[in-house]
């Protein structure tokens, strides 16, 4: 188990390193990196400062090392629109995105897991068809279209919900539903198949044979075992969530990182784009590590497995 | 037959497979699959290789064909060392050395028609015209007893016995001088297996290729091989003509194998002289092999009814035991007396 985790940790660091290298190469390939990082209106002093800081007169490998030490010391470049530190600009947008993402995540869990369990327990019933229909819809209905449909109905036609901003609780309703629906669908689908798999196992028949009531069978045997595969997709959900938040924040003018990213790409604010990419990469790597940990903690076989058995 | 120069000869073959590491990054342990094996097959000769599962039979087959390389020792083809795999000569040797696998269900590509699969060996070596190749494949399929109606079918439409006939036909397309049969009937029903054995014997009479028949089925081996080598824990423990071996086995392990074959005729029940005692918790063959190797003694000692102190200390050497029967070699310190059986 330890060895497995160390292996994953190593891979995670490797991933972050790879993305940073990708950004480094891209910055060099896309023209004068100073232009990219500082923009057109940089003063000569700034250009001189950053030329010295990044050492653009030095050989490329030296620049590569400097790039990493610069990032490490917090020199992420500056936003040329208001001259502020790019990292700070991104950081102040994080809470809004975090609240939205967490709410949507909880929404999709609260909707998806019970729906999946119900669908598995009442297989081929109306509830099952509804859950699976929702799963297909959630996948096929693009979140930007869902958002616009809701805007049309709730804001423009019935005028019961605010269209944009993040001021009150009412502001959360449409973005959370838009962001969480596809997740709820896929979680429901996955929970259902995990439950069905578990319910066909011999130990479920044993539990039934020894007279456990259906509720107890579900709680004590089916759920703990079905939870293991469900946990693994939560990590994947986070990636979809981050990608989805870019769209949802744009549709509902949510003041978060996703909208900042879209605006920065449009305005070619490369310092901010770079900061967001690095931030997202680190978040994903850490999230995947946590899923691995959770997986090991949930599955006693993984917990007790010796280092040699990781295959 | 023993006089002719061997077509294939194994000299002191050893093959070990990496086992698990005891420590992270520590040295790997090794499982010896085959240890110090010497074998030779003369042109036209059928050599049987018997032993229980895990004794290294199949590994020896793969080594003899050159599909795997030994860790030490070598395989000689017509007296020359087996070429490296990258060597074009290795590829050319495939025409001469062919194989029939154990599992006929997996041995055919599920997405290719029977006739195409049998034609393929000729395609690989680009022999003759396309029409010519196809005609030869049809003839071979007919020769192994298949009706033309199955030629254009896919493998899943065939029975196990039919598939094995296809596999045999494919192996013979290049007119090999040596054919390895790796457990050719163990995946088949008994009656179908008997038909396949008869077919192999028949084809041997026609084509005269040398064969190595790997099997754990003694009655099958007895029915059509010329010479037998008995394998235990990766070593040859006894080797003799088929008649000699079955009539007068010298090694206690061979004796146990032969006694374990049921005889269908109650009037011919043989005297069970060996109660085949087993230790209470019988160690696995692999453990025994390690035990034998570590202790430097005979690998069979732990299961041997005649075991004595010497057996645990010194590995017996495979050698001629009986001047009257040259070629009957046994690796045992205390072999059964000559002609002890029946």
């Amino acid at each position: 188990m330890m060895r497995l985790l160390l292996n994953r940790l190593f891979r995670g660091v490797l991933t972050i390193w790879g993305v940073l290298t990708f950004v480094f190469i891209m910055l060099r390939l896309s023209g004068d990196p100073l232009d990219a990082l500082l923009g057109d209106e940089a003063t000569p002093e700034m250009i001189a400062y950053y030329t010295r800081l990044y050492g653009f007169d030095q050989p490329i490998w030296q620049q590569y090392i400097n790039y990493f030490t610069g990032l490490w010391q917090g020199n992420w470049g500056i936003s040329y629109r208001d001259g502020r530190d790019a990292f700070a600009v991104v950081m102040e947008r994080i809470p809004a995105t975090l609240y939205l993402g967490l709410s949507a995540f909880v929404f999709s869990l609260i909707l998806g897991v019970p729906l999946g369990i119900l669908a598995a327990r009442h297989r081929n019933s109306a509830i099952d068809r509804f859950a699976m229909g929702l799963a297909v819809l959630g996948f096929a209905l693009p979140n930007f279209f869902l958002g616009i449909l809701m805007l049309l109905l709730f804001t423009m036609t019935w005028q019961i919900l605010p269209s944009s901003g993040a001021g009150s609780l009412a502001h959360y309703i449409m973005p959370v539903i838009t962001l969480g629906t596809s997740g709820a669908g896929s979680i429901a689908r996955f929970t259902r198949s995990a439950m069905l798999e578990v319910m066909n196992r011999p130990y479920m028949r044993t539990a039934r044979a020894k007279g456990l009531l259906p509720g107890a069978r579900l709680r004590r045997h089916a759920l703990p075992n079905a939870a293991i595969p469900v946990v693994t997709i939560l990590g994947f959900r986070l990636g979809d969530m981050i990608a989805g938040s870019v769209v949802v924040e744009t549709v509902f003018a949510w003041p978060g990182v996703g909208r900042l990213l879209v605006n920065s790409v449009t305005a070619r604010e490369l310092a901010i784009v770079q900061a967001i990419v690095v931030l997202v990469t680190c978040t994903m790597v850490i999230a995947n590590l946590m899923v691995d940990l959770l997986y090991g903690w949930l599955d006693p076989r993984q917990r007790d497995a010796k280092a040699d058995d990781n295959g | 037959m023993t006089g002719a120069a061997p077509i294939l000869e194994a000299r002191n073959l050893c093959r070990r497979y990496p086992g698990p590491r005891r420590w992270p990054l520590g040295p790997r342990s090794h499982q010896h699959a085959v240890s110090a094996v010497n074998l030779s097959v003369a042109p036209g000769e059928i050599l049987g290789l018997i032993g229980e599962s895990g004794s290294g039979k199949s590994t020896i087959g793969r080594l003899m064909l050159g599909l795997e390389r030994p860790d030490t020792g070598q395989v000689l083809v017509d007296g020359h060392p087996m070429p490296q795999r990258a060597d074009p000569a290795w590829r050319q040797l495939r025409r001469q050395l062919q194989v029939v696998f154990q599992d006929p269900h997996g041995a055919l590509d599920p997405r290719k028609r029977i006739l195409d699969q049998v034609t393929e060996p000729l395609d690989i070596f680009a022999e003759g015209t396309a029409a010519d190749r196809q005609r030869r494949a049809q003839e071979m399929l007919a020769r192994v007893g298949l009706r033309p109606s199955v030629f254009t079918r896919f493998p899943n439409a065939l029975s196990g016995g039919q598939k094995q006939r296809v596999v045999i036909a494919r192996a013979l397309m290049l007119s090999p001088r040596f054919l390895l049969c790796d457990e050719p009937i163990s995946a088949l029903d008994v009656s179908v297996g008997a038909q396949i054995t008869a077919l192999l014997a028949d084809l041997h009479r026609d084509h005269g290729m040398a064969m190595l028949v790997v099997s754990h089925d003694l009655s099958m081996v007895r029915s059509f091989v010329h010479r037998v080598a008995v394998l235990f824990a990766g070593r040859v423990v006894e080797e003799a003509n088929v008649a000699t071996l079955f009539a007068a086995p010298r090694h206690p392990y061979t004796r146990m194998l032969i006694d374990a074959v049921p005889i269908a005729d109650p009037t011919r029940r043989r005297p069970r002289q060996l109660p085949t005692p087993m230790p209470p918790a019988a160690p696995s063959v692999a453990q025994l092999a390690i035990l034998g190797a570590v202790a430097g003694g005979c690998a069979f000692a732990a299961r041997c009814p005649h075991r004595q102190a010497l057996c645990l200390q010194k590995m017996p050497v495979l050698q001629d035991m009986d001047d009257a029967r040259p070629g009957h070699r046994t690796a045992c310190h205390f072999p059964n007396p000559k002609g002890a059986a029946q």
């Binding site: 209905l141 930007f144 616009i148 805007l151 049309l152 744009t250 879209v262 | 194989v99 041995a107 393929e120």
Partner: protein
């Protein structure tokens, strides 16, 4: 005797094919028909379109579609510049389907090739490929696409390439696994023992045997590719005017929701129908071709 067995086997096969056709679920047939309409519409956009998709008619801005009381000159109404939405839909469908098809194929070819390479014995190359697969699976690729578009500016070929690269890792992982398991099959060992070259073994035997997996994955991946293209175009970062795609139409229609909601809803519904039909067909194909999963 032999001939008659053969004939009856043939007969059995045809009846099986017929039953499978007849038992094709109604939803799947509907999806196929729906896809056919979009594909034909996109393919023959130039012939069908009643107007030049770029022609502006400022007198006829935001005209309603027929089902909202408009007239047949503009069957689906006009947009803010007075361009015919029906004609634009045809060309946008062509663009969206074309980019998605090209992108899916690029991903499938790269992924399949790298999957085959990663299944070879060389531990260094396969290690590098699998590390890349893991890295891509662990990253939201859409963010990286955005970064690349920001760095290089937008060009159609770059956009198509990026959309294509998005899906390669799934193909690589699936194909590698399938090739590795195919290689342990006895028939592959038999081919090696007969001196067949690696090209013959992989091209003529293993590839046809993993083709099912490939077809299923392509059909399942296609909707994701469409969604990637449309959502990027929707954000204004993908297909750029004067070119148009379904996502671009939806994105520009967003500004006129209050006055003319159909400008956004018509292309949105088209995206929804295409992805829905395609994923239903993909699920059906998977059940049909791969009963184990």
């Amino acid at each position: 005797m032999a001939g008659s067995t053969h004939a009856s086997a043939m007969q059995r096969q045809t009846t099986m094919a017929e039953t499978s056709l007849r038992s094709t679920p109604f939803v799947v047939r509907l999806s196929l028909a729906c896809l056919a309409v979009f594909v034909l519409g996109g393919l023959f956009a130039g012939w069908i379109a009643p107007h030049d998709p770029a022609a502006q008619n400022l007198m006829q801005r935001l005209a309603p579609p027929v089902f909202l009381g408009g007239d047949w000159t503009y069957p689906l109404g006009t947009d803010a510049l007075g361009r015919d939405i029906f004609s634009r839909m045809l060309f946008a469908t062509r663009m969206s389907l074309g980019v998605a098809l090209l992108g899916t194929l690029i991903g499938a070819v790269i992924g399949t090739f790298l999957g085959f390479v990663a299944a070879q014995q060389n531990r260094v190359t396969s290690g590098v490929i699998m590390a890349l697969v893991d890295a891509q699976a662990a990253l939201p690729f859409q963010i990286l696409v955005l970064a690349a578009l920001a760095l290089f500016g937008n060009a159609l070929w770059l956009f198509v390439a990026l959309v294509g690269i998005a899906g390669w890792e799934t193909y690589a992982r699936l194909i590698r696994g399938a090739v590795l398991s195919a290689r342990t099959e006895t028939y592959v060992q038999a081919l090696e023992a007969t001196g067949a070259s690696a090209w013959r073994i992989h091209g003529r035997h293993i590839l046809p045997n993993v083709a099912n997996i490939l077809i299923i994955q392509i059909s399942l991946n296609f909707p994701s590719t469409i969604l990637l293209e449309t959502s990027l175009s929707f954000l204004g970062l993908g297909i750029q005017p004067p070119l148009t795609s379904l996502g671009e139409m939806l994105g520009s229609g967003r500004d006129h929701l209050l006055l003319a909601w159909w400008i956004a809803v018509v292309p949105g519904a088209a995206i929804f129908l295409i992805t829905l039909s395609m994923s239903l067909v993909g699920d059906w194909l998977r059940d049909l071709l791969d009963p184990d999963s």
